[in-house]
Symmetry: C2
Subunit: 349 residues, 2 copies
């Protein structure tokens, strides 16, 4: 009934993780459009490209030569945003001119030797190997860094600078703005209600059944009540998992399967290789009281497409200056995604 | 000296208005790029287009007919995100499912009858008329609404859905997330230091001279110390002006002139019609103690281009999931902008 009312009128929803509101204007997709229709994403069909910096056996821009790798392949980013050898200086005298130099590192994970197989097209075993790479890299980097961001920019629309399917890992000695916000929100919720915020949330969503996209024994994919991007989803465990290394074998296998299911749904929505940015959040590698208890591991997918493979949502003007906004409701978006075919559109041709 | 150190290493800078950090990686522009190079923005040369919904005398999608207007022309948006006749409901029982319906309205301001003249190409008198329209609309809408966002999305890259040069006004009964944050920051600063945050800031910037782009008797254009977008600028008054209606005639004239100067610099940077989202922030229309004293009027320009008219900065992955980031320093960006020609590139052909 709440949802019925909200679907009739423009409204705002509260994001309890970031302490921000999101404007929802359900009727806005009807407006005429004389603006940009993005070009179709180029569909790359080849297994190997000799001009690719990431394919096995090729040389990168650093002149290093990639091994003839057969599974996932991880290497240090040749142009990392964060560097290990920075001198540390901090400028805090003037509240309006505060700055600090930072240390960190960047890595690239090629998903497989294939120049064309994206996440939804990979066999389940390869996705399991990718998950294991994430866990191993996190184990290693958590020894030196407080925060490690695992993410993927997929598609040219999302600024992906190399077409070979890959993800990235940026590790830093500082905890970034958004992780700090999520740390505070989950901590405050835990102190107030004696519950893990996201575990409480997923339990309620499983009862409501309004925003669920996929579900299996250990995981749920849903469009959060407060989602800003049109088909934004969260991947949430059904039990308490504060960091990736806490996943057991069964949970990893189930995760591979639901990640494949979600990304196949994305591709089938508009019959195209669906662009997105995705990344993992979990308890940072610090010792704050109770922090493993109040943190819950989750992935977020932020895809820009709105109505077709060439019509996207622009997060501009009002969204950049006032507050994030969306043009279809999370409930409608969840229904669209849920109703896609389970077979990848390329396999159906 | 602080700047010399910061320019050598990746670093973070603090945004005191939004209480967020920004990651700066000065060396990142060197990385190879096999990703998207956006198509050149189409340059529209005609003065009138019969298929345009906004040109004088044409009919809009609502079937209403535009008058044969000669200056700026303001009308109610035919597809507003916010609507006046919404029923008001508020759902706050569950902290994880908070929502509220909202009332508001949307207007469109055509900058001039011309289908092709963008802000930098308009004569100064037309920009003065545009400023007067802003002031008049705000006077009117402030009677019914707490917040009125004046903004422009320029260029297809920024999701502009109608090519006829225009801005927008979205008014609401609620105060959006970002305005709330800026309200708190300026209030806390004022209570702590007995100074207006942005007035203190502009005074210091005028002494440092490191990030100034343009300056005249009443206004300063600068790249803020904490800017996130590559050529992000702020337009700040030199004296205390809490809301648009507090500008005197002289200040309005000077504003028209500096807005033209800034937008000409933008266009001349890469010899193209420079895309951006821009908007005005000022004290909201509420009676909070001292709030006129701690608020300072300012415009923000958020342009996406980074290295040429076809190479943009993508705010994706790490930026969406962790914290905003930039690849050139604000000081270098200010120098580039400052060194552009004062004559618009089209006039030089
Ligand atoms: O209002 P327009 O020009 O149709 O639409 C544009 O500006 C709006 C306000 O920033 C955004 O919500 C839209 O995504 C964008 O395409
Ligand atoms: O690291 P890449 O793929 O070269 O670059 C891409 O991802 C980065 C991290 O999200 C962004 O900072 C860049 O703007 C984007 O183009």
């Amino acid at each position: 009934e709440q949802i019925e009312i909200l679907n009739q009128y423009s409204h705002r929803r509260y994001n309890p993780l970031l302490d921000e509101w999101v404007l929802v204007a359900p009727h806005r997709t009807k407006r005429p459009w004389q603006g940009s229709q993005d070009d179709e994403e180029e569909e790359i069909g080849v297994d190997y490209d000799e001009s690719c910096f990431l394919c096995p056996g090729n040389s990168r821009s650093s002149k290093e030569i990639n091994p003839n790798y057969e599974d996932t392949f991880v290497f240090y980013n040749d142009f990392p945003a964060l560097m290990e050898n920075a001198e540390i200086h901090s400028f805090r005298e003037d509240p309006l001119f505060q700055g600090e130099t930072v240390r960190g590192t960047g890595k690239v994970i090629c998903y497989s030797p294939s120049h064309s197989l994206t996440l939804p097209e990979l066999p389940i075993e390869s996705i399991e190997k990718l998950i294991n790479s994430w866990v191993n890299e996190l184990d290693e980097l958590s020894k030196s860094y407080k925060w490690v961001q695992v993410f993927e920019n997929k598609g040219q629309m999302m600024g992906c600078s190399q077409p070979h399917p890959h993800g990235q890992i940026w590790a830093s000695e500082f905890i970034p703005t958004q992780i700090n916000k999520k740390d505070r929100s989950q901590r405050e919720f835990f102190n107030k209600y004696k519950k893990n915020l996201l575990l409480d949330y997923v339990t309620k969503e499983l009862e409501l059944k309004e925003r669920i996209v996929h579900e299996n024994e250990h995981w749920v994919v849903l469009i959060p009540y407060w989602a800003a991007w049109p088909f934004e989803t969260m991947v949430l465990p059904k039990s308490h998992i504060p960091q990736m290394s806490y996943m057991n074998l069964e949970q990893r296998k189930c995760l591979a399967s639901i990640l494949k299911k979600l990304t196949v749904s994305y591709d089938n929505l508009f019959n195209c290789s669906f662009p997105y940015s995705m990344g993992w959040h979990f308890a940072p590698f610090v010792d704050t009281i109770n922090h493993l208890e109040y943190w819950q591991l989750h992935a977020t997918f932020l895809p820009p497409l709105l109505r077709s493979k060439s019509i996207r949502k622009f997060m501009v003007g009002y969204e950049l200056l006032c507050e994030q906004g969306r043009d279809i409701t999370p409930e409608v978006a969840a229904e669209y995604l849920r109703n896609t075919s389970v077979n990848h559109y390329k396999a159906r041709k």
